[in-house]
Amino acid sequence: MKILMAEDDFASRKFMDNYLSQYGECDVTVDGEEAVDAFMMALEDNEPYDLICLDVMMPVMDGYQVLKAIRDIETQRGISKKKRVKVIMTSALNEERNVKTAFELGCEAYSGKPIDVEKFDKLLKKLELI
């Protein structure tokens, strides 16, 4: 599968990259804007991502903005809910309001940091990605 990860923190990025690479090709951006760009490019090339992992706190655009942008673009292009890209937010912000906001904006899952790899695996299975 094709994965995009937006994460500005080096350590987290490295960790996630290592982890996700076992499941597929993993593109990495370090800020929100680049993530939207990457998402667009993949759409244009007709090779959309299967999974996007978004950090919440990022430079230029935060995870919420990116998520909203992605969902907006998908709606605009008439991509059905079923076919749209799966988005997992990753953040140490784990208060309910943070998670709720993300859910409302339409992410598939929200994973607190540090990431529970075992559960992440289960999650990917539930999302039928692996």
């Binding site: 935060d62 919420y64 912000l93 784990n94 607190g112 540090p114």
Partner: protein, 710 residues
Amino acid sequence: MAEELNNDGMLDMFLYESGQLLEKLEGIILEKQDADCFDESDINEIFRIMHTIKGSSGIMMFENITKVTHRLEDVFFYLRESQPDNVPHLELVDKVLDVSDFVNGEMEKIKAGEKTDGDEGPLLKELDDFLAKLKGEIKDQGIPLPKQKKNDEPSQFYIAPVASENSRFFQIVIHYRNDTMMSNLRAYAATFALKEVAEDMLYTPEDIMTNESSADVILAEGFYIILQTKSSAEEVHELVDSTEAENIEITELSAEEYGQKLVEHGRVDAPPAASAKASEPAKEEKKAPAPVVPGDYVVKSKETGKGKTLAKNQPKKQSIISVNVEKMDALMDLIGEIVIAEAVVLQNPDLKVPGLELPNFQKAGAQLSKITTELQEIIMSLRMMPLTNAFQKMKRIVFDVSRKLGKDIEVQVVGENTEVDKNIIEHITDPLMHLVRNSVDHGIEENVEERTSRGKPAKGRITLEAKNEGGKVYISVKDDGKGLSKEKLYEKAYSVGLIGERPITDFTDKEIYSFITLPGFSTKEQVTEYSGRGVGMDVVVKNIQSIGGRLDIESTEGAGSEMTLVIPLTLAIINGIVVQIGSSSFVLETASVKTFMRITSDSIITEPDGEEYIVLRDECYPFVRLNEKYNLKGAGTNVEDGIIVVLEHESRQICILIDKLVQEQEIVVKPIPSYIKRVKGVSGCTQLGDGSIALILDIASLVDNKERRI
């Protein structure tokens, strides 16, 4: 703030909500355990509770909880849709409680940071079997089976951050040798090496790559790293080691300390705190806490990595915080000290100069008193909790024990909203549990015939009652069972040699009942699993006494017993009146003082046995001379010289003679040192403004004592 960093908001919310729902569930079950079946609203409610827990545990990915609650939800779905008759109610109740226990158990594990590894298999099978049976019966009744419910798996998930069980936190301080060239590059090398294993890392100084002068700072102060990793201290040490390093200190941190450090280092990766608020425009601050909107968490600088600051800081509202009980206790103690200090200042002997008037001082003093009073009230109210939970627990115990003993018992609860100091709740839960078990086990008759022959309903009844009266809380466990047999108690006490050779007529009923609280006493020949041997009742009494309470036992043979825990509402501060008898000071609880008066000696009548009474306005009060009772020196004996105080406890009165009324004030209750055995008529002591000690009179036991002799 540090705690918040490590508390997972989502997880807490899940635990809190599910806990509430489970409590509610148990409430419904216990209320309806004896009914023939659940009514429609119960079924809907239980269905809804299971549905909610299933849903939220699904989102949280606690799969075994999801499965179990899902299955029970299915059961109630059938019940709701088909409304069959002949549902084996007790079996159903059992199943629901099993599920509730299972979920509770798993939630405890989550709280402890453990894996939810409870095996849901057996429970699932039981539920499946039960459901199959239900369906069978439903079919037998000719009711069409409801359609298979659509399975609404959650479509969104939340993964709680990994518990710190395998992540470790370190603080690493590296000091380089003074002649190290470009120590900032050495430091960078160390951080680079650590990135291999780091889950998270922060270091100071931060600008090691961009600012050459950071090298001097590193040489002077050392290079600080805080690190989250799965590696051991040794592995970390190996990674950062270099020939230039003179000294490497690696300290393991707890998760809390780590969180603290993160905050100290200005890392706002955590919930945006109130820092940097000052820079916000004023109008921004006045805004109500806004919900999260996209864009709130943009990190300002394009610089990747460390030292993030948010473009917009969230004004943060925290309406509820949890506080360590120890801190509350410390605060409580301090406030107690303030109250004493206040008394020391305001009643200072230095002020007692005849003719000295200090209006401004008095005014300031009054203000101080007002504030300390408010302070006390607030801390008290913080510590008050209703007994609801404790009672709920007791209901559950009655249910469990009665089921296992094959007794049919209903529980009635009165006054469960009575509020009590948290400390006290902790102290009474075990004693109360013991009393309840005793009532179920020893109180209620084993044979239904035994009950019916006495004209009692077949079903046993246990009443839990709490009420608040005169600064005390009364919590009683009442059963309508056998009651205590005085003869049996006496024989038993006699045979174990607890009372010597004295005949039964020597003892009052109350004393005979109190035999059961003696160490090593039990009338039940057979030791049962639930109320054990005679150990326990003496422990109950000891526990209750340790918080200044007592246990009252009332019983009528054949009709039932009532055990009442009488405990102070709060342990700490009471309103009291300081009086003097001879050279001793005593404190009377204000609530129990009815009147003060002066009388003439002809109001006193003396019985032939020497008992004295005071007759006032057609009322006759027993009169106790404390100076004689307690052998106090220097006290006046002529009632016309002193003041008579009428004390009241539970509508029973008693009079005492005092020499002098000192004043009314707030009294910080201190226990009498445990070395001194409990003194009858004294419930505690306190330190007065001048440093002397006054004993607090326990009106209840004075009244009791007197009454018994009448």
